[in-house]
């Protein structure tokens, strides 16, 4: 089983990410679907697609639930069986997992998996409140916690235990903004300096504005099929060879440790074992940098370095486009943006581009093995997927 393709990605689409005025989430999803259909002329979407799974976090943003059917409708796929998948910021990472289940079950031959969120028309306090709904209500929300606050707890603990510094956090932001400057679909396409990051205003100490990902509108999708059918649709499939998914307590306060995300470690182990690859084999990775500390912890949880060394890895430049293991070549959640429900399959989209040589100015030369790491809530849900060039 090790290294055997579970499913193959034969196409992918991404809307522009950013503050997209005058468009609803469903319209953004249609943008992503259009790109995926255009990339794959051999696919007849109405005839070939057997199911649609759509990651979407919150009906509060647009006063619109029932997103599976809404997305199916606007992608022109009615009466396709469609379902919304909700797992906070990992909604479409989990949708991807559901897509894999559906193909491996034998019930589906070709499925679309995607995600969408429209957020920027809401005020920052409203978005702060809506996002916090994915955290524990009776103790954490009730005590005024926010998402930046929950990751700030991890940052404080990481700094206390390992001596990680605010400057090391800022290096993650600078790198990801540089990568975003090379991505025409990124929300923020301009570089920032270390000083700008370090002097930005405090959101939840020790995290500052430039430690936080962006409130963004966007949608993403990928099309999966059984590996033996992939060549029918494309000459350049990308195989998913490992998939991991795990959960942890909704309350961060209950955890044994605050310097690592256990669900991500478990998901990573599952995905690596299934794929038969080691962390050192990964050529390019998209990780869940909802906050800079989250990328540093991801390096450690994914085995790119030892526990406690993530800050130094960020500082070393080895995760930049020129380093040994380029991370968040798209700009990540930090600069490409984080329309929460869309993020998991937006990561898959970037890996698809990288492994098919379509990543333009941010292309990692000869990338063969890719990894995506998508975390929902403050380490409550995690999915890890491993990809190989077909």
């Amino acid at each position: 089983m090790r290294g055997k393709p579970l499913v193959s990605i034969v196409s992918a689409g991404l809307s522009k990410f950013g503050k997209i005025e005058g468009m609803y989430g469903r319209e953004l999803f249609a943008e992503a679907a259009k790109e995926a259909f255009e990339r794959c002329p051999n696919l007849d979407p109405k005839r070939d697609l057997d199911a649609l799974f759509v990651g979407h976090m919150g009906e509060s943003y647009e006063h619109q639930g029932h997103t599976g059917a809404v997305a199916a409708d606007w992608a022109g796929l009615i009466p396709i069986p469609a379902a919304r998948v909700e797992a906070a910021c990992s909604s479409s990472g989990v949708a991807l997992r559901m897509g894999i289940y559906s193909v491996l079950s034998g019930l589906c031959d070709v499925v679309m998996v995607g995600g969408v969120e429209k957020m920027t028309h809401r005020s920052t306090p409203e978005v702060t409140e809506f996002l916090a709904m994915a955290s524990d209500f009776p103790f954490e929300q009730w005590n005024g916690m926010t998402f930046p606050g929950l990751y700030a707890w991890m940052a404080t603990a990481h700094m206390h235990k390992y001596g990680t510094t605010e400057t090391q956090l800022a290096h993650v932001a600078v790198k990801n903004h540089y990568n975003g400057s090379l991505n025409p679909k990124a929300h923020m396409q301009k570089e920032i300096t270390l000083e700008q990051a370090l002097t930005s205003r405090v959101i939840a100490w020790p995290l500052k504005l430039f430690d936080c990902s962006l409130i963004t509108d966007g949608a993403s999708c990928v099309i999966l099929t059984r590996p033996e059918l992939a060549r029918k649709y494309t000459d350049t499939p990308v195989h998913i060879i490992g998939s991991g998914h795990a959960c942890d307590t909704i309350g961060v306060y209950e955890r044994e440790e605050f310097t690592s995300i256990r669900a991500a470690r478990i998901a990573a182990r599952e995905a690596y074992e299934m794929a038969g690859v080691e962390p050192g084999d990964v050529d390019v990775a998209e990780v869940h940098d909802c906050f800079t500390i989250a990328e540093i912890i991801a390096y450690e949880d994914l085995g790119f370095c030892n526990p406690g060394e993530g800050g130094r890895l960020a500082e070393s430049g080895e995760t930049s486009l020129k380093g040994n293991i380029p991370v968040n070549t798209s700009g990540g959640l930090k600069a490409k943006g984080h329309p929460v429900g869309a993020t998991g399959t937006a990561q898959a989209y970037e890996i698809y581009l990288q492994l098919t040589g379509q990543a333009g100015r941010r292309q990692v030369a000869d990338a063969e093995i890719g990894l995506s790491h998508n975390v929902g809530g403050a380490g409550v849900t995690a999915t890890v997927h491993i990809y190989r060039r077909g």
């Binding site: 103790f139 005590n143 606050g149 603990a157 206390h160 306060y253």
Partner: protein
């Protein structure tokens, strides 16, 4: 009749200025808040225990950008406190300047009858403050 092992009952006890948990009669794990199904051994048998409200600060943050319900309080500090028996509980930290808050410092619980005035449950509140000298 035994009180139900619920979050609501936990906060009713907070209103009586008591920090309580549910102790699993099978494996001994103390749950704060109480649960009716032990997440460790799946037992359904518990007893209430009253906990000492003093412990060590494990980590903290200072919230500057707050949800609407808390905006009037911002900035405010929130931490995770580990009580003497190992139980962890989050809480707002008061009565100490932010710059004097340290991981590892001793904090103790106190109570108030506050509510945010929003359409949230009208629970009483607890918070943490430095141990008086």
């Amino acid at each position: 009749m035994q009180q139900p092992f619920t979050i609501e009952q936990f906060y009713r006890n907070i209103a009586q200025k008591k920090l309580t948990g549910g102790k699993c009669l099978k494996c001994g794990k103390i749950h704060v808040p109480p649960r009716s199904l032990c997440d460790s051994c799946l037992s359904k048998e518990f007893e209430w225990v009253e906990l000492a409200g003093t412990g060590k600060l494990l980590t903290y943050t200072v919230i500057h950008v707050a949800p609407p319900q808390f905006q009037s309080m911002a900035p405010y500090a929130v931490g995770i406190i580990q009580l003497e028996n190992g139980v962890k509980i989050p809480g707002i930290i008061r009565e100490v300047p932010f710059e004097q808050i340290r991981v590892g410092m001793q904090l103790t619980i106190d109570y108030e009858a506050a509510s945010t005035g929003h359409q949230w449950p009208q629970w009483p509140r607890y918070y943490f403050k430095p141990v008086p000298a």
